[in-house]
């Protein structure tokens, strides 16, 4: 592959083909979005089940911490595996990755250190914080369903302030489905179609 007698047309074709193939290799596939959406859904729904059987106060914090820790460990392993695939550095990749960790870390600090002060308000704050993250991702990777999902999540977040705290769990579950799982699945389907 070191031909030098190729035509300008062939040359332009080579450039556009290489750029297109390179972009294709590091496109997001929505996997992490689906994982976190399912995780939030499982955590909140299981808390509801725990409250029904009267074990909520005993196990909710431990259960939540175990599940979210599994999510963080899984995300770390997944990210590390992607790095090992020799994925190149891109401004977009760095921005999305950094934003994800910053938003996640901020929510962790809010929940652990300011949970008592914030009380029930933690649920809508969580939704608004992640809505911002999802809107930004949707705009950056030019995938409308994620931006729309983030926008709806943002609305759910503010609407949550208006309902009784008993329904905050429902808001979180709805947010997980609308903001994370559905856009994640749509992105995954789109990427699979692109690779056919």
């Amino acid at each position: 592959m070191d031909k030098t007698s190729f035509t300008p047309e062939e040359s332009l074709l080579l450039i556009s083909k290489t750029i297109e193939e390179t972009k294709e290799r590091f496109k997001e596939n929505g996997h992490i979005l689906i994982v976190w959406g399912c995780l939030i859904f499982i955590v909140v729904s299981s808390q509801y089940v725990l409250s029904l059987v009267g074990l909520y106060k005993k196990f909710d914090i431990a259960w939540t911490n175990i599940l979210y820790s599994i999510g963080v460990i899984y995300t770390l392993i997944y990210t590390r595996r992607e790095v090992k695939k020799n994925m190149p550095l891109t401004v977009l990749g760095i921005t999305v990755g950094t934003m994800g960790w910053v938003v996640g870390l901020n929510f962790f600090i809010l929940a652990v250190f300011f949970g008592n002060q914030l009380g029930n308000a933690l649920a809508p704050i969580f939704l608004i914080l992640f809505a911002f993250f999802l809107i930004m991702i949707g705009v950056l990777i030019k995938f409308k369903p994620i931006a729309i999902g983030g926008f709806i999540l943002n609305l759910i977040g503010f609407a949550t302030f208006l309902v009784h705290p008993n329904y905050y769990g429902l808001s979180l579950m709805l947010g997980a489905v609308v903001g994370f799982i559905i856009p994640g699945i749509l992105l995954n389907i789109t990427r699979r179609k692109d690779n056919v």
Binding site: M1, D2, K3, S5, P8, S11, L12, L14, R25, I94
Partner: protein
């Protein structure tokens, strides 16, 4: 044959390497090898030529105890690529 075209870039493998580097901020040797499907020795030779021309920057380090070669395009490389594409257009759409 095509006088205005930069001879450094007017080679399939070198052009592929520069096109990849125009898309990303930094890529390692393995990524370039996988993307171009070229032999490691051939890539090394072309990378050296591009580096000598000042079009790319090569940094060697260790990642998880393994040698890692990071390659990125320089300002001079970007300018050369842009000029090359503009010259190509002149050939395709002559006035």
């Amino acid at each position: 044959m095509f006088k205005d075209l930069d001879p450094i870039l007017h080679s399939q493998l070198r052009l592929s390497i520069v096109s990849i580097l125009m898309t990303v901020d930094e890529a390692n040797f393995s990524f370039i090898k996988e993307s171009t499907n070229a032999a490691a020795g051939n890539i090394s030779i072309q990378i050296k030529k591009l580096q000598k021309a000042g079009y790319i920057k090569v940094e060697k380090s260790f990642k998880n105890n393994y040698p890692n070669t990071s390659i990125s395009i320089t300002r001079k490389g970007i300018k050369a690529f842009e000029d090359y594409v503009n010259n190509l257009k002149k050939y395709i759409e002559p006035k």
